[in-house]
Amino acid sequence: MAVAATVAPFGQTISSQSDLVPDWTCREVSTGTTIMAVEFDGGVVIGADSRTTTGAYIANRVTDKLTPIHDRIFCCRSGSAADTQAIADVVTYQLGFHSIELDEPPLVETAANLFKASCYRYREELTAGIIVAGWDKRRGGQVYSVPIGGMLVRQPVSIGGSGSTYIYGFMDSNYKPGLTKEQCLELTAAALSLAMERDGSSGGVVRLAAISENGVERRVILGNQLPKFSTH
């Protein structure tokens, strides 16, 4: 059994395969993922699955992809775990500093712009798809999408991650404006369950959070409590 070294064209990472050290020990950690955020009157509902993978191995089956950036602002992370954790840490620091300077809770739009600034500037080096969602006094509940590449767009409902491709149809047909908080939570749970069922890189538990003026309400739906859709 020989140690084979594959030399890629100059400029890319040189990977070496050894029989002793399997592939998933040197693959980057990715939050395969399905993430989602919905606005309602008075706040937002955000949700995510809980699977982090390195290649074919699940490195963490209870990940929390809903990361607090400030008291009433969260972000949903998808893409490279290292990249999104690093960006979230940077933005948390910048937003905290900005908020102290203002002596006021920060706007969700500010947080979204900080994410965009980092994601766009380092777009060649990063793999990060982020949904920023929260509540502020000026505009209430807001959802901003910052996909790979660093675009920024506000949407009433946004889905992201590898599992989101399976639920575009479901979202287009089941979302309508003017839903209540409970309806949003049910919609999010249903959408995430469907995506987790079909996407190999999404799974585990469903983590939900409802952000409003009163605070943040977090929920976890375990595997056996997920809404069921197929009968076979």
Partner: protein, 277 residues
């Protein structure tokens, strides 16, 4: 026309100038039939759990260089601070140096704050350093310790992502060890049960993964006390050879004995003085 030339300071980070040359050399060496030297990796099984009174970290002790065992009893549980220890998998040099750098910085930080260092601080420092090097530092770490906020356990990946969990495994034997944990882990275990569980998890890695082997090292960290058990379990003691090629005196009987003194003449004598001053 004067041409402006800006003197640029050398950019930081790794210099990849030699990569093309290395690639050419690797090709030439392969054509002859030899192999390029491999970096020493700690194939490895490392793990950690949170139990009732604190943290237990476990590691095997085999270091490999390609398919050869370079060190049969290396120490993979590194000191970070009196209350924080870190297991390292991946490239041996990277884990050794990274943990030493952060240990040193953490000691200075602790003197500056006047407080016992926290595990979250060590985690931040490690993840920020590894992210800065974009995965080129091949260090996969299990960081554990007890501080003023209780016991904490983190797994840190080479690209700089971290997970905070009650039980973690890393290294090539991590799947074998995780299977043991997923079956038998319970929150708030007693110390002896927890030590047995960690020992069994590392043993699973040692016996089922080619990159892990030799002994089991444990490190039990509780509030105010650290037990560094090296080795905790000598799972692979070298056996005593049953047979021997040397024969005892008297195996062959002596029939006759004749002695011929050899006459030697002194041909040349020279003295070389030694400087003993």
């Amino acid at each position: 026309m004067a041409t402006l030339s800006v003197c640029q300071p050398p950019p930081g980070g790794f210099s990849f100038d030699n990569c093309r040359r290395n690639a050419v050399l690797a090709g030439e060496v392969a054509a002859i039939g030899l192999g390029a030297p491999a970096a020493r990796k700690t194939g490895t099984t490392i793990c950690g759990i949170v139990f009732k009174d604190g943290i237990i970290l476990g590691a095997d002790t085999r270091a490999t260089e390609g398919m050869v065992v370079a060190d049969k009893n290396c120490s993979k549980i590194h000191y970070i601070s009196p209350n924080i220890y870190c297991c390292g998998a991946g490239t041996a040099a990277d884990t050794e140096m990274t943990t030493q750098i952060i240990s040193s910085n953490l000691e200075l930080h602790s003197l500056s704050t006047g407080r016992q260092p926290r595990v979250a601080t060590a985690n931040r420092m490690l993840k920020q350093m590894l992210f800065r090097y974009q995965g080129y530092i091949g260090a996969a770490l299990v960081l554990g310790g007890v501080d003023c906020n209780g016991p904490h356990l983190y797994s840190i990946y080479p690209h700089g992502s971290t997970d905070k969990l009650p039980y973690v495994t890393m290294g090539s034997g991590s799947l074998a060890a995780m299977a043991v944990f997923e079956d038998r882990y319970k929150p708030d275990m007693e110390e002896e049960d927890a030590k047995q569980l960690v020992r069994d998890a590392i043993a699973a890695g040692i016996f089922n993964d080619l990159g892990s082997g030799s002994n089991v090292d444990l490190c039990v960290i509780t509030k105010g006390k650290v037990d560094y058990l090296r080795p905790h379990d000598e799972a692979n003691k070298k056996g005593v050879r049953a047979g021997d090629y040397k024969y005892k005196r008297g195996t062959t009987a002596v029939l006759t004995k004749t002695v011929f003194p050899l006459k030697l003449e002194v041909v040349e004598e020279s003295i070389q003085t030694m400087d003993t001053s």
